[in-house]
Amino acid sequence: MASAGKIQRLGRGLKGKMSLRATHRDAGPVTVVDLSGRITLGDGSALLRKTIRGLLEDQRKKILLNLADVDYIDSSGIGELVSGFTAVKNQGGDLKLLQLTKKVRDLLQITKLYTVFDVFTDESSAIRSFN
């Protein structure tokens, strides 16, 4: 049985690793959201939701999620990507993905979502595709 002290040490070691960071910048009518970290149950999924909903409230409906620095997504994160995609589509916009890491690409492929999202490796091409 793991001791309480050991568990606390494990918990402390997770704090930095688990967080997601999101910043966004405008590229003409397209908003590029640069994400880094893990999109997982809890804060990561919540931040992604808040970011996309905030952009929609500001009438920014052409959204490109840059996942180059996202090395981990769990089922909750996948659900949040789908939720964001649907929310943007429902408002007449478009949400696309840029620069998937191998693990994220593999996840989207086995869940058959790779064919649902428009996925790009080059930012310029991705931005042009919104026109």
Partner: protein
């Protein structure tokens, strides 16, 4: 339990932090057991999904309920048990997340991912009536693993679960 089997168990609170804690603990055990980076990722993700399932669906996010996680390392494989205090469920009743009508569902992929990432996967009725997820991964052959996962393996899991 066979004498050469190593056993570890922990009772977790029904809270989001338990998901990260369980993942981290199992990752350390998997690394110590000799799994490479790719398999550690698969095991960590599966444990994560198992505990999310217990947290959300089994225990209904009720803090008065617990999540019981147990690990066994036998000479052949690492076996993981995740037991909740809910009312249980039947695998056959879980919708297929790959079905066209479910592709844009915002949930329901956890079971699929565990099946895809692990060698064996099942859900049985636990001792308290809740659902008990039992899954295992075969230990790497001696000399076939490296700490960096450089075994020529792809990180893509098995499909068709």
């Amino acid at each position: 339990m066979a004498p050469e089997t190593k056993h570890l168990e922990i009772t977790l609170e029904t809270q989001v932090e338990s998901v990260n804690l369980a993942e981290e603990m199992c990752l350390r055990v998997a690394e110590a057991a000799g799994f490479g980076e790719d398999d550690c990722y698969r095991i960590g993700m599966s444990v994560r999904e198992g505990v999310i399932n217990a947290f959300h669906y089994g225990n209904q996010e009720r803090p008065d309920r617990k999540i019981h996680l147990a690990l066994d390392i036998t000479p052949e494989k690492m076996i993981i048990h995740v037991l909740d205090e809910g009312t249980g469920f039947t695998l056959a009743d879980v919708p297929d997340p790959l079905a066209e009508e479910n592709l844009l569902s915002t949930s329901g992929r956890g079971i699929f991912l565990m099946r895809a990432f692990m060698d064996e996967f099942d859900v049985v009725q636990g001792r308290n009536g809740g659902a008990e997820i039992v899954m295992s991964k075969k230990l790497p052959e001696p000399g076939s693993s490296s700490p960096n996962g450089e075994r020529g393996q792809d990180t893509a899991p098995r499909q068709g679960a």
